[in-house]
Amino acid sequence: MRACYRCLLWLHPPVFRREYAGEMLWIFDQSAESQGAATLFIDGIGSLARQWLLRSGWWKIALALSLAMLQIVFGGFATMIFGHRHFVEPAQDPSIVNVAEFAHGGSIGHQPLTVGIVMYLAVFITGGLTVMVIGLTLWMKSFAVRRRSALRKAS
């Protein structure tokens, strides 16, 4: 169990690991019998999640990914529900995608999936993700600046 706990500590962000991992392992040795090794291990998992998701800012990327997935799911539902009303005749050559029609409400529901469509979706998703990550980072930066000035005023 000690080796598992050591691995868990190793998975923490480097800054935290350098500062506290040694003492945490020492406390694990001291209190594993009284508190139970499993309890300490679960506590370590909680700390690992908090360190990566809350303290290191990875939550921004996780949130952006979730929002992008939500966007794709809603986009898919919208296409399923409203797509058939704006059906556009497929192009003569199925490898040719009329991007202009697609962008103006045309449906891809009855068109074969071509390389063009896949590329279009890839660009759309990557663009959406980038915009969300940049937006969230800027928003968090402004939040941090406001918080810092509030703290400075308080102290």
Binding site: F16, E19, Y20, G22, E23, M24, W26, I27, F28, Q30, S31, Q35, T39, L40, I42, D43, G44, I45, G46, S47, L48, R50, Q51, R55, R147, A150, L151, K153, A154, S155
Partner: protein
């Protein structure tokens, strides 16, 4: 000038217990865990992960700082922590807030129930 502690309130249970344990004297991590268990009569037990995660946050906020050097009789590898004067102020503000909550709760629990 009176300081405004409201951005830090309310404190999380872990942060409150850590600050309380450091209010009396400087302690190392394991000492904080033992003091928290003693103060809560064993009802609240901090694990090392929760402890150091919260200590890191409290140090970033300036409520706790590393003590310059451990007492002579203790292991020099152990790091000691202490409450800053700002941290003491935040702790006092939190205790005052909790007192008003308890006062309010007592008034409401004593008052007879009115039919709606």
């Amino acid at each position: 000038m009176t300081e405004d502690y409201t951005p830090f309130l309310p404190l999380s249970p872990a942060a409150l217990h850590i600050l309380l344990s450091l209010a009396g004297e400087d302690r190392h991590g394991y000492g904080i865990m033992q003091e928290v268990a003693r103060q809560s009569e064993g009802q609240y037990k901090l694990g090392p992960g929760t402890l150091y995660d919260n200590l890191q946050k409290l140090m970033t906020q300036g409520l706790v700082e590393a003590s310059p050097k451990p007492p002579a009789h203790d292991d020099p590898r152990r790091r000691y922590f202490r409450l800053t004067s700002f941290g003491r102020g935040v702790l006092s503000a939190e205790v005052a807030r909790l007192e008003s909550v308890i006062r309010e709760a007592r008034v409401h629990l004593r008052a007879p129930r009115r039919a709606t």
